[in-house]
């Protein structure tokens, strides 16, 4: 477990990795305790940890429900993928930040690792 002072905030990641913020209302000052990558939502439900940032290419609104259920810090879509309109609506209602990176998943995760975001449970 990290010290409180070492825990990264989502807005620091957004700034550093130049992510586009798709949700207007979601709180970006949340703590990011780690990361998880998967495009199978059933797998995310089973294995992601609370406070994780989730890296995926799925744009369906079910992603928001899963992120809410697992209390994730936010969702980063890779390869510049745009979320579906209803996904953004849901995310704004549920206060789940949705961000877009132009990078492919591997590159994005490399950058997150450099910032100290770990995938360990």
């Amino acid at each position: 477990m990290k010290n409180k002072s070492e825990i990264m905030k989502l807005n620091q990641i957004i700034e550093k990795l130049n992510l586009t913020v798709e949700t207007k209302t979601a709180d970006l000052k949340v703590d990011v305790t780690g990361g998880y990558v998967s495009d199978l939502l059933s797998d995310v439900m089973a294995n992601a940890q609370s406070g994780n940032i989730w890296i995926t290419l799925q744009i369906h609104q079910n992603t928001v429900a899963v992120a809410t259920l697992k209390e994730l810090a936010g969702i980063i879509l890779i390869n510049g993928k745009k979320p579906a309109q209803e996904t953004i609506h849901k995310a704004e209602q549920e206060n789940i930040p949705i961000l877009i990176s132009k990078l492919p998943a591997y590159e994005l995760i490399c950058e997150l690792c450099k910032m100290g975001i770990s995938g360990r449970k």
Binding site: L40, L41, S42, D43, Q58, H60, Q61, N62, A65, V66
Partner: protein
């Protein structure tokens, strides 16, 4: 279909249906899955209705319909289409003309076309005499860029049935890909694969109880045809009748023969 005996009501009867069968057109379908072989085996297994459901393609349906013409078997026009979420959807129509319209939408949104000969030799188009007519040069195992919702909506627009494929499986099922079945999805039914009994499926995925459940073989090999089937209590083997059975309307209904895997030879 015209009822010859005017004024006499058609009775409800049980139709044994396997509505998820691949032909040699599917890259994973065995070469022996030809129209004649499929029709012959379907009749042997006591099936009344089958559907030809190749991956994102429909070129072998007409041949199967022709091969079944002089028999008691009804062949529906089907497809197992892959959504952008990489979930499989079974789409069923009465008419080939509806399928042709659906196919246009699919090919317009299916990346990968003009593949090399080594790839397409597993995607065989045949005629009703089981002769090779050509090869499909689309990437049939790929995913369309259409959402599951869009695929369901288009199916209904053309008066077809939309059934989520093998929802209990870990790959290409709506539950695996999306975690759970989106509430707004207007599905006509869910298919449970031959790998699970209905009872097991209801234990593992209690949520599936919200929908009518069916089970089919998902046959890729001749021996698998009819290993799993669903009984439809209907008046005629048509999409409208099957829809009523799925909804339990006007005395129509469903029954599942839970044979389990590896039996039914």
């Amino acid at each position: 279909m015209q009822n010859g005996n005017f004024g006499q009501e058609i009775m409800l009867r049980t139709y044994s249906a396997d509505l998820h069968i691949h032909t040699c057109l599917s890259p994973c379908g065995d070469l022996d899955m030809s129209p004649r072989n499929i029709v012959k085996k379907s009749l042997e297994r006591g099936l009344d209705i089958i559907a030809i459901t190749d991956h994102n393609a429909s070129e072998n349906i007409q041949a199967a319909m022709e091969a079944a013409q002089e028999t008691a078997l009804t062949v529906l026009a089907g497809m197992e289409v892959t959504s952008e979420e990489e979930a499989h959807l079974l789409v069923l129509f009465d008419e080939l003309s509806s399928m042709k319209q659906y196919q246009l939408l699919i090919y317009d949104n299916l990346p990968g076309f003009g593949l090399d000969s080594a790839t397409i030799e597993n995607q065989v188009i045949v005629n009703a005499k089981d002769e090779v007519e050509g090869f499909n040069d689309h990437l049939l195992l790929g995913a369309t860029s259409l959402s599951f919702q869009k695929l369901v909506d288009k199916t209904h627009e053309l008066n077809g049935l939309a059934i989520a494929s093998h929802v209990d499986k870990e790959s290409f099922s709506i539950i695996a890909q999306l975690g759970f079945i989106p509430a707004e999805l207007d599905l006509d039914g869910l298919e449970i694969s031959p790998f699970m009994t209905l009872t097991q499926a209801l234990q593992v995925f209690p949520d599936v109880n919200r929908y009518p459940l069916v089970t089919f073989s998902d046959a890729h090999f001749i021996g698998d045809i009819g290993k799993q089937s669903t009984q439809f209590l209907v008046k005629q083997p048509t999409i409208n009748e099957l829809r009523m059975a799925l909804r339990g309307e006007k005395g129509r209904g469903l029954g599942i023969r839970d044979w389990g895997l590896g039996t039914g030879n």
